[in-house]
């Protein structure tokens, strides 16, 4: 049972981690909490369900499951990237040199706008998608584990490795790290700050869209306010790991998922959310900058 709970927690945590990365990357370059990020994830989930329904209707999922899944991920990623880009251009760039509070309010405004926009466009009822992958669990070491969970965990790890390589090895990744360290200095040495920031939003949105699509398949159900709770949880994960720190967001997401799952399983499912926030408080008391957070002095 412990192993099963751990797998439950890892699958949950993988989703949190993917969304948390978007929070943490944007914070890294802009020192801004992008509260509309949860809505990007929600839009990704909607697109996942809509595309899957479409592919099922034309008969693609029945014959080419892997291909259609791939197309769904790519489609959702492109669409959400567009949203991330627009979000940055419309809501944040005009306020880049404004008071710190202004972009925050703008973020909350965008979040409310996107929620209501999706509600009007897609209706206020739950969108439901029938099962795609077999829901019967397979026995792994005598423990029933669903294929979907393995799929989610593996896909997330794959995306995270990709992100880490991108940030560490590529020129753009280096530019991103430079921008995170000091925007003005990075600009002076010839880095196009606007481009780097835009790309940060695009990458964050793609990761969120992947999380959204996986959740759509995992639960088979989306509605227009799933972004809110997921956003809060992922933000918690980002803070837990040290906001601005990429490995921190990954670790924070998995820890949060595990704590929730084990807490719900062994202590009390009524207070599942309480455990998540309790662990956040404890970590912040002991390590104010988060588990892997850099010391604030490095930023100056």
């Amino acid at each position: 049972m412990l192993l099963q709970q751990i797998v439950n927690g890892l699958a949950l945590g993988a989703v949190y981690a993917l969304i948390a990365l978007g929070y943490t990357m944007v914070y890294g370059v802009l020192e801004l909490i992008n509260f509309a990020h949860g809505e990007i994830y929600m839009i990704g989930a909607y697109l996942g369900i809509l595309l899957l329904t479409f592919f099922t209707a034309v008969g693609l999922t029945q014959h080419h499951l892997v291909l259609s899944l791939f197309l769904v991920f790519v489609g959702a990623a492109l669409y959400c990237a567009g949203y991330g880009l627009t979000l940055e251009r419309v809501a944040y760039r005009p306020l880049r040199h404004a008071n710190r509070l202004s972009p925050l309010i703008s973020a909350i405004g965008m979040s409310i706008f996107l929620q209501n926009y999706v509600m009007l466009a897609q209706g206020s009822t739950d969108k439901v998608f029938p099962h795609l992958l077999p829901s019967e669990p397979v026995a792994v070491l005598g423990v029933p584990i669903s294929l979907l969970q393995i799929f989610i965990i593996l896909t997330s790890i794959f995306l995270m490795i990709g992100l880490s390589l991108f940030v560490k090895k590529t020129r753009l990744g280096k530019a991103m790290r430079a921008t995170a360290q000091d925007k003005r200095m990075a600009g002076l040495v010839g880095i196009d700050i606007n481009k780097v920031i835009a790309i940060t939003f695009v990458i964050g949105s793609i990761l969120a869209s992947a999380a959204g699509v996986m959740v759509a398949i995992y639960y088979g159900l989306v509605n227009f306010f799933i972004g809110y709770v997921a956003g809060i949880k992922a933000f918690t994960a980002a803070v837990l790991g040290g906001i601005g720190n990429i490995p921190g967001a990954m670790a924070g997401g998995f820890i949060l998922g595990l704590v929730e799952s084990l807490g719900a399983g062994y202590l009390s499912s009524e207070y599942k959310d309480v455990f998540a926030f309790l662990i956040l408080i404890v970590v912040l008391i002991l390590r104010p900058s988060g588990l892997l957070g850099e010391k604030a002095s490095e930023k100056v």
């Binding site: 049972m1 439950n8 206020s124 159900l221 509605n223 499912s269 009524e270």
Partner: protein, 378 residues
């Protein structure tokens, strides 16, 4: 008022004040009578709210097509409480301020109970088609009625079914911590007594999507059956995820889960779920004509569409019979009249509950709900 105007000596201010008072006073045209329907119109339970709205709308349309009510048109206000108690109170206040003569709603007990306090203060009749928590009517309010059963009756039938029919020895109980969900789970547990052992009892969070953690623990308790007190969004995810974590025993739940959306969410996993609800209304001969009209306008009716229709009919008939829009008169008329609705005879006891209610057990089979079991001695 004129005294005040004189003292102010400011014609402009007087005009403004007049416009203000005049504005609110004139917002209700004298040639219509307003009634209201409230429920979760948006959000995860919006299917139910809209079923309610459609049922009431149909009843109102019927009155307007014929003679109207007391010679006037009936105007229907729709309130969205989002199954949130706070929002329900806000909606109730809005209704009272708009001068409605009666309310059909709300859907959730957790919304009906706080909202009924507002209606009670204004002495406006409220007829809920769906709130089954005992406390809705147990507070002795003369303006609160329901055209559905009570959870103490429902819990008893569920317990009898689990003990006598399923012959379960070990039972796990989950609930969604709401007035309705936890209330029903507790009534079930109480009625079960020592006929079976409750091996696990816990709440889950309404709105949550992941119950694998708690379900994995339920598996380890080895129950013969598990009971869920709650609504279909969580109910659907529970049965679906239960199969995924290897919990292969049937779920028993109540009237909050019996909706087509439950099957859509759960897919094949929904099959074999037992649900307590009143007998099938669409099969009643009295309901056939309304069923046809409902289908033509809105499509397939939900489980509570006809109860909402009947609740509206009870209200409108009572207004007609009382010959007044005064709350006291309407409440009296509702209480003293027996109305033959499409769901059966609707006659209220002194609390505002129906004199005759019946719960049966339904089963989910191939994505459809059908009646399965009746308690003996009926």
């Amino acid at each position: 008022m004129i005294e005040i105007f004189r003292r102010i000596h400011s014609p402009l201010l007087a005009v403004l004040i007049f416009a203000l008072f005049g504005g609110t006073g004139c917002s209700r045209p004298a040639d219509t009578i307003r009634i209201a329907v409230a429920g979760p119109m948006t959000g995860d339970q919006s299917k139910q709210g809209n079923d309610l709205k459609n049922g009431v709308e149909l009843a109102v349309a019927k009155w307007n097509e014929t003679s109207g009510l007391l010679g006037k048109k009936v105007e229907l206000l729709v309130g969205d409480d989002q199954h949130d108690p706070k929002q329900a109170v806000a909606i109730a206040n809005k209704f009272v301020n708009s001068g409605v003569v009666g309310v059909v709603g709300h859907w959730n007990s957790s919304a009906s109970i706080p909202a009924s306090e507002v209606y009670h203060r204004a002495d406006i009749p409220m007829i809920t088609p769906a709130s089954t928590n005992p406390r809705v009517t147990d507070r002795g309010y003369s303006n609160v009625f329901r055209v559905c059963g009570r959870d103490d009756q429902q819990g008893k039938v569920a317990a009898e079914f689990v003990a006598a029919q399923l012959k379960a020895k070990r039972v796990a109980v989950l609930h969604d911590k709401t007035t309705y969900g936890q209330g029903l789970a507790d009534e079930f547990k109480k009625a079960l007594g020592n006929r079976a052992e409750v091996v696990y009892y816990s709440g889950i969070i309404q709105g949550d999507k992941d119950f694998r953690g708690v379900l994995t623990t339920v598996v380890s308790k080895k129950p013969d059956v598990y009971f869920f007190g709650g609504i279909y969004p969580e109910g659907g995810l529970l049965v679906k995820q239960a199969k995924e974590v290897g919990l292969n025993v049937p779920m028993v739940s109540g009237d909050g889960v019996i909706d087509q959306v439950f099957v859509q969410i759960a897919g094949e996993a929904a099959d074999g779920t037992y649900l307590t609800f009143s007998p099938d209304t669409t099969k009643l001969p009295a309901a056939q004509e309304v069923l046809k009209q409902y289908r033509a306008r809105y499509g397939e009716p939900g489980p509570y569409s006809f109860y909402a229709y009947d609740a509206a009919q009870v209200l409108l008939n009572a207004v007609q019979k009382a010959g007044t829009t005064d709350g006291f008169g309407i409440n009296q008329a509702i209480r003293t009249t027996s109305y033959d609705g499409i769901t059966g005879r609707l006659q209220f006891d002194s609390k505002g509950d129906l004199l005759t209610t019946q719960y049966v057990v339904w089963i989910t089979k191939n994505g459809q709900f059908e009646e399965f079991w009746k308690p003996s001695g009926r």
